[in-house]
Point group: C4
Chain length 508, copies 4
Amino acid sequence: MAGSGKLISGKEVAQHNSRESCWIIVHGKVYDVTDFLDDHPGGSRIILKYAGKDATAEYDPIHPPDAIKTHLPPEKHLGDVDPGTVLKVEVEVTDQEKERLERIANRPPLSEILNLHDFEAIARVVMPEKAWAYYSSAADDEITNRENHAAYHRLWWRPRILRDVTNVEWSTTILGHPSKMPLYITATALGKLGHPDGELNLTKAAAKHGVIQMIPTLASCAFDELVDAAQPGQVQFLQLYVNKDRSITKKFVQHAEKRGIKALFITVDAPQLGRREKDMRQKFEAEDPAEVTGNNQEDKVDRSQGAARAISSFIDPGLDWKDIPWFQSITKMPLILKGVQCWEDTLQAYDMGLAGVVLSNHGGRQLDFSRSGIEILVEVVRELGARRGLKFPNDKFQLFVDGGVRRANDVLKAIALGATAVGVGRPFLYAFSSYGPEGVDHALQILHDEFEMNMRLLGARTLKEVVPEMVDASSLQSHIVAVPGDRLYDSNYESMQHARLREVKSKM
Amino acid sequence: MAGSGKLISGKEVAQHNSRESCWIIVHGKVYDVTDFLDDHPGGSRIILKYAGKDATAEYDPIHPPDAIKTHLPPEKHLGDVDPGTVLKVEVEVTDQEKERLERIANRPPLSEILNLHDFEAIARVVMPEKAWAYYSSAADDEITNRENHAAYHRLWWRPRILRDVTNVEWSTTILGHPSKMPLYITATALGKLGHPDGELNLTKAAAKHGVIQMIPTLASCAFDELVDAAQPGQVQFLQLYVNKDRSITKKFVQHAEKRGIKALFITVDAPQLGRREKDMRQKFEAEDPAEVTGNNQEDKVDRSQGAARAISSFIDPGLDWKDIPWFQSITKMPLILKGVQCWEDTLQAYDMGLAGVVLSNHGGRQLDFSRSGIEILVEVVRELGARRGLKFPNDKFQLFVDGGVRRANDVLKAIALGATAVGVGRPFLYAFSSYGPEGVDHALQILHDEFEMNMRLLGARTLKEVVPEMVDASSLQSHIVAVPGDRLYDSNYESMQHARLREVKSKM
Amino acid sequence: MAGSGKLISGKEVAQHNSRESCWIIVHGKVYDVTDFLDDHPGGSRIILKYAGKDATAEYDPIHPPDAIKTHLPPEKHLGDVDPGTVLKVEVEVTDQEKERLERIANRPPLSEILNLHDFEAIARVVMPEKAWAYYSSAADDEITNRENHAAYHRLWWRPRILRDVTNVEWSTTILGHPSKMPLYITATALGKLGHPDGELNLTKAAAKHGVIQMIPTLASCAFDELVDAAQPGQVQFLQLYVNKDRSITKKFVQHAEKRGIKALFITVDAPQLGRREKDMRQKFEAEDPAEVTGNNQEDKVDRSQGAARAISSFIDPGLDWKDIPWFQSITKMPLILKGVQCWEDTLQAYDMGLAGVVLSNHGGRQLDFSRSGIEILVEVVRELGARRGLKFPNDKFQLFVDGGVRRANDVLKAIALGATAVGVGRPFLYAFSSYGPEGVDHALQILHDEFEMNMRLLGARTLKEVVPEMVDASSLQSHIVAVPGDRLYDSNYESMQHARLREVKSKM
Amino acid sequence: MAGSGKLISGKEVAQHNSRESCWIIVHGKVYDVTDFLDDHPGGSRIILKYAGKDATAEYDPIHPPDAIKTHLPPEKHLGDVDPGTVLKVEVEVTDQEKERLERIANRPPLSEILNLHDFEAIARVVMPEKAWAYYSSAADDEITNRENHAAYHRLWWRPRILRDVTNVEWSTTILGHPSKMPLYITATALGKLGHPDGELNLTKAAAKHGVIQMIPTLASCAFDELVDAAQPGQVQFLQLYVNKDRSITKKFVQHAEKRGIKALFITVDAPQLGRREKDMRQKFEAEDPAEVTGNNQEDKVDRSQGAARAISSFIDPGLDWKDIPWFQSITKMPLILKGVQCWEDTLQAYDMGLAGVVLSNHGGRQLDFSRSGIEILVEVVRELGARRGLKFPNDKFQLFVDGGVRRANDVLKAIALGATAVGVGRPFLYAFSSYGPEGVDHALQILHDEFEMNMRLLGARTLKEVVPEMVDASSLQSHIVAVPGDRLYDSNYESMQHARLREVKSKM
C-alpha cells in the first residue's frame, strides 16, 4: 500500500495498530515493526502502545539516533508520513510516573551532594526503573560487581608526615595527553536512558574539568555529535566493539582517527554479553501480561535476553590475538586492550607492541567471579617486572583499571600500585541521571576536592610521590566467605544492651 | 476375620478405624497397620485419618510403589477388598492447602525463571511443607549444607581473552559415555513428594538434553519404570545403598546391569542417616496434638527419627573396604564410591582398582562440618598427583563432586580443578516440584545457556581449555568465623546516611 | 529486745520492717539484715519486701542452704521465732510472673527438644529473668563467651569411609574412672536459681547416663546432700575455690576426699570475678526506684557488683604456684588446674606433677578476649609434645577443655585434637531450668544419640580412632574482624530478587 | 554610625537585623558580622536569628572565648553597647529541644553506667544533634574510625595463672611524670559543645584520678583558664596546631612552657582537615531552607566545609621535618609528634632526637583507610628494634597510641605490645556531655575498676608484667572484606528454628 516515494497519510498508519500489523512513526518516517516486536529489547508492549501512532517522543530518549534504521531491514522503512495528518499522541502519565516526577522535584540541592554515593542514592529514586536496572545491573549474582568496590577496602594507607604540602598537584599524563586528574570517564552505553543529552553531558563536564572522555561504540548520541561537542584541544578516546564485518570496523576506526580521537580501547571481555538478570527481570514488567500468560509454558529463555543481544549482536566472538596486527595496520592511534584479567594476557599485549591494557571485568557485567581490576594490577606489576624488567606507572606501556571506584581515595590506591589512571563509569551516569550536566560538573569538582585533601593527608606533593610503599596490600587477594552462621546459637544469644533512659525503660 | 483368599467388604474394613485396630486400603488391598502406626515416617495422624478407608490417593504420591508391602510383615496383608463396597473418601481441603493451590496458580511463567535459584524460590512456596522440609533439610546445624555452596565463592576466575570463541563446546565423556554437559543428575530420594511423576521427570529431561541420570535406590518410582522410560541409547547410572542382606544387593545389582545400567555408585557416607532436624520438626506438625500432649513427658527421641530410619533401616553400617572385591566379583559395571571425603580414601579406592569417586558429603545431610566436595577435590588432585603421578581429569580414574551447585559457573570451577563432572541434585527436585517436567527441561536449558556464555567469557573453546591456571583457589581452605561483634559499640555507631529527597527528609 | 535463748514473737519482728531496722525470718530463725541491705547480691528491694516477715519461701530457691548464716555476723542471728505468731506472707503474683507461668504451661513436650540449643531457647522464656541473666551472662562485651562456641566452627572434619561401624563405642576413662561419654558435667554455681532441686538434678541424671558430675564449691545444694544423692559407685569430682583462710579449704578438701570425691579441680582463673554486665543490669531492675532516684548522682560502681563479690569475697587472689605442694600434702586426690590458658602454665602444671589441666576461660565469664579452650588445646599439644615428648590424650597428664559446646560433634573435635574429655555446663543448667530432672536426662540422651551417629559417620569405632588427622584445624587461630562496612555503598546496592508469584508481585 | 569610643544603643543595633546588614551583641560588645555570615561554621541561619540582638546566651556554650574577636577583622568590632537599651531575647524552645530536655531529665543514674559505651549511648540521645555530629563524625566513609575499635578485637589474650595478685598496680610514668593509669586524656576540640564547662570538666577529673590531660589548641576554654584550674602538681600536656605565622606559635609554646606545661604534642596528621560528612550534613539542617532552595543549582561544595575550615584555616600545611630544629630551639619541653602512621616516620622522629610519637590517625577524622594506631605499633616496635636496637616501652623514646579505646582491656593490649600509654578522647567527651564533671569522674573510676580486674585476671602485678607474650597479635594485620553475599541463595535458605512454645506456635 505504501510506496517509498510519496507521503503516507496518518490515517493509513493508524490502521496498522495491532500485533498482526504494527506501524509506527519516528521522526516523520513510517516503519513496519510487526516482525520486530518480539526482538525489541524493551519488550513488545511499549511498541504496541504506539502502534499506528507517532512514537518519536517515547523513542528519542532511549535509542541511539539511527537504531531503528540499523535494526530494521530496508524493506520495512515505508517512507515519509504526511505531517499534517498525524494525530498527536497524548502521553498518559501513570501514577507511578507522577510519583517519580514528584521525587525529581524534591531532589536535594546539589550543595547537599557530598560524594559520589549521593548521586547514586538520588538517581535510584528519580530514574525510570528501566534505566536504573540497565545501569546498575551486573552479571549473574553480581558478586564481581560488588567485589570491585570491596577490593579497595582491603587496601590500607601508610601515609607520610611532615612534608610541605602547601601545594599539591594531582594532574598527570595519559597516553601522552594531559589530564587534570588521574582518571578518565570510561565508556558506558545508552546514556540517554538517564538524561536526554546522554553522553554529551560527559563531554561538556570533561572539558570543564580537564579530564578525558572515552566515547563508547554504543553511545546514545552519534559519534560525530560527541566529537563536535568537544572544546578545541579537548582529548577524547574511543572504545571499540569489533564488528563481525571488519570493513565496518575499519571505516569506523579510521573515521575516528581522522576526527582526532587519540587512542583506541578495544573491548576484549565481551565476546558475548553477560547475563544481567536484574535487567532481564525488569523487562518482564514491560511485557503485556495477557501475552505472557498465553505463553505460560513456552520456553522463552532466549527471548528474555533480547535487549542485550539485539544491541550487541554485531560484536565478533571470533576476535583473536591474530587480529592485532590488522588493527596496527589500519590506524596509528595507540591501541589499548580493555578487559584484560591476568598477567599472562597483559604480557602478550606488551610483547605485541600495544600501548597498554585496562585491567577490568566490565563493571562486573560479564563473567561473575572475575577478580577486580585492582587485584589484577598487583600481579601484573609483579610479573611484568620480573619477566620484562618493567616499572609502573610506565609511559611506554600503561596500565589502567576500572570498576568499583567511588572516591579519590580509591583512585590513589590504584596509582600507588602502578596504574597510570583509573576509569570511572557508573558514578557519572548517576550524576547526569539525577542532575544533568551540573551533576557531572559537581561530581568532578567533588573528586578534585577529594584529591587535594587526600594528597595532603598522604604527604604526597605529586602523583610520583604516591608510591607502592604507601599501601598495605597484604589482604588484597583474600576472598573470604565466612563459615555459615549457627542460626540456633545466634538466635539464643541475647544481645548486650546499653544503659537506657528511664522513661524508655518503663515503656519496654 | 479376614481370610487371604476371599474379598473383604468395605464395611468390615470400616470398623477398624481406630488406634486400637486400624486397617487401610491401598490399591485394592487391605492392610492391618495397627502396629505400624508409631513407626510411620509421616506420623500416625495421617494414617488414622484414613483408618477403615481407602488411602490410595493419599498414599500414592509419597511412597515408593511397594513400600507398604515391604515394610509390613506378610501376616498384615489381609487380602483384596470388594471394590463395590468401598466408600469414597472425600478429601477435605484445608485452608492452608487452598492457599497453596492458589500460590500454584500464581506461579510466574517459566520464561521468568532465569536461574536455578528461581526454581527453589517458587518450590518453597508451592510445595507441601512436608516435602519442602524433606528436600531442603540437612544435618545438625546445616553448616556443611551451606558451606557446600559458599565454598564456590572462594574460587575466583582468571579468564583469558582474544581467543576465537565463535564456537564453544561444553560436552564431555563420563565413564566412557557422552554427556552434553559436564554434569549429571545425581540420586535423590522420594521424588514423588514433589511431583506425581517423581524421578520420571528427570529421566525425560535427561534424554532431551543429553545428560546422564543416576537412579537412586530410594526412588519413588520403581527401578524398572525408570529404565523403561529411557530413550534408546540413553545412559543411566545407579546409586546403591548396600543391604545388610547381601543377596538382595547382589540381585539388585545384577538386575541393573542386565537392564543396561552403565555404572554403579556405591554410597559410602551413610552407614547411618544424619539428623535432619528441620525434617524432624516438620513431623511434629503432623502428629495428633491430643496424643502428643498425652505423652508430654515421655522420651520420644527415637521415634521422631522414625521416617528416615524406616526408609533406611536396611542399609548396612558394616560395609567395609573388604566388601569391595565382592562387588567386583558380582558385576562388570564400573564401580564408583559416592561420599569420599579425603585423599587417603580416594587413594585406596584407586589402588583397589575402582573407576572413580564422588567427593561429596551427601548434600550436607550426614556429618555436619564435613568439608565441601570442591575443597576436597584440590587435596585429592594434589596428593594423587604426588603419590601416583595421576593427572586430572583422568579417564582411568574419574573424580566427581556434588553439593551446592547452582550455576554453570560453579560447575566449571570443579572442571578446571580436575573433576570429570559434577552432580546436581536438589535444583532439579525444585524444578519439577514447581513446574513438573517442563521445569527440569527449562533448568537444563538455563544451564546450557550459562555454559555457552561462561565458556566464551573464560576464553575456553572446549572443557580441555578450562585449566587449573584459570582458577585462583588460594582462599578455598579458609574456614573463617569472624570475631563476635561488639554489640554495644555497634549499636552506638550511627550509620552514615545519603543525601535524601527533601520531602522524605521532612517526614523523618 | 531479742535474746538468743527465748523465742521472738512475730509481732516484734513485724515492727522491724524498714530500711532503718530490717528483720527477716528464714527457716524459723530471725535475722537482723539492716546493715546487709546494700550488700545483698539481689538488691535491697527484694529484702525490704519481706522486712518484718517470713522470707523462707522466697529465700529457699535462690540461696545456698547456709548462705545467711555464713554471710551475717553471729550477732545478727537474733534467735528462733515463735512459730504461732508469724503472719503468713501472701505472695503477690505479678502480671509478668503470670505470663511466665503461662509460658511454662505451654512448653513443648520433651520429644520436640531435638538438641541442646532447644533447651536454651525454652529456658530463656520460662526462667525468671534474674536467673537467666545470672546463667547466661559473661564478661565485658561477651566476646570470649561467643568465641568459645565460634571456635568449633573453624574446625572441619575429614571423615573416613568403609569401616565396619556396626558397633561404635564412645565411652572412655577420665582420671582412671569410667565415663559413658567423653564429657563431664562441669561445675556451675547457684543451681537453685533455675530449679528447686538445683544441682541434684545433675547428680541423678549423671548416674543414669554414666557420666561424671563435678560438684561446685558454690552449689545451691549442700555438698553432702549431693554426695549422699549419688548412686553406689557413682563418680563425682569437686571444683574448688580456694579460701583466703587455708584451714577452711583444708577441712573442705579432706572432707571431700573422705566422702569419696575422686578428683579435685582447683579453679585458677578467678582471683577476682569478671564484670558480667548483663547480670549487673538485671540487678537495677530489682532496686527500689525511689531509692535509686534519691542516689542519682552518687557513685555506686562498687555496689552494683555486690552480688558477685558477696558470693566470691572469700576467694583468695593470692593463690600461687607456691601453694601447689601444700595441696599435694593435704590430699591424695588427683589435682587438676581449672582455667589454664596457655602452654607455658600447662607445662608448669605437668612439671609439678599435677594430674592435668582444664583449658578454659570460665565460660567467658572472666577475662574478655581470652581464647577458647579448644584453640589453646592445639598449642598445648604441640608444645608439650615438643618439650616433654608427650602424646595426647594421655593417661598420666590429662587435658580437658570446656566452654561453648552444644553438640557431640563439638566434643569429638576436642577428642580428636588430644583432650581426654570435655566439660559441659550451661546446657545442663538450661535443661533442668526448663524441664527439671527429665530435662537433663533428655539432654544426655540426645548427646548419646549424637555420639553414636557422629562416630559412625566419622568412621571411628572407638574414641581411639578419632585422631588428629580427622580434623582440619588450619583456620582455628584466625581471629578475623571484617573491615567495617561501607554503609553508603551498601545501602545503594539494590539486592537481587527471585522470580515471584504473580499475585505477590502485583501487591508490591 | 557607630564609633569605637562611645556606647552604641540597642535600638541602633536592632536596625541591623538582616542578611544585608547584620550586627550582633556578644558579652556587651557589638560586632558587624554581615560578611561573616557565609563563613560561619554553624551556618548563617543561627546568626540571622540573633541579627540585631544579644546573642551571648547562644554564643557562649559553643565558641572558644575569643573566637569572635579572633575571626572578625578589627574594623568589624564596633564597640560597647549601652547595656540598659538592649532588648532581652526570649529564647524559643522548639518541640525537638523540649523532647531533648525531657530525655536529659530521664537519664539513668550514674550507677547504671557500667562502661564507657554507656556514656556514648546516653550522650547520643541527650546531646544537641549538632554537637553529637561534631564529636562523633569522622572522615569519608568512617572506615578508619570504626577500624580503630575493631583492630583491638583481633588481639587476644594469653593470661597467666597462679601468681599472687592480691596487690596489683597499674600506675606508670609518662614522659617522666606519674600517672595513676597507663592512659591520658587526649586533646579534642570544642568541649563546650557538649557541656558549658567544656574542657574544665576534664581538668578536674584528671586531678582527682591522677591522670594527665592534654590541652587542645582548639579548646573552648581559654588555655590559661585550664592551667589555672589545675591542682598544684597536676601535670598537663599541650597539643599544638602549628600556625602559618610561626611567631604566634612561638609565643604560644613559650607561654605554655612558662605556665608549666610538661610536654608538647605537635599534630602532624592535619595539614588539611578531613571531610567529615556527617558533620557537613548536620550543617544543612541548620541552614535557612528558603536560602538553600534559592541557591538550588549553585555549587556550594566549599561553603559546606566552612565550619571546619574556619576553625582550622590558620594551620600550616607547609609544616616539614625541617621545622623540627626550630621547635627544639624555642622550647625545652619534650617534643612528641602526634599522628605518625608508619615506622619510617617514627624512625626519623627518633633519629632527630624527639621524645616520642603518638601512633594515631586522628580518631579516623583525617585520611580514611589509615590503619589503626595499635596496628602501626607492632610494625614500629619490630622495625625500631631491628634498626636501632630499641626495646619498648622505652623511657627515652616513648610510643603512644590513640583511637577506638573503650575498655581498660584495650589499653592493656597496647601496653603489652610496647606502648607507654594510650590516649582516650571521645569517651570523656561523651561522659561530660551526658553527666557533666561527675560523668568524667565516673568514667575514670570505671577504668580504674577495669584495670584492677584485668590485671588480676592477666596474672600481672604491675604493667611491667604485661608483656608481648601475653597477646596473640597474629591476626592484627588482616584487613578482610568478605566476598559479597549470594543474595538469591541466602534468601532461599530457610533458617533453622528452635523448639517453640505451643501457644506461640499456634499463633504463627
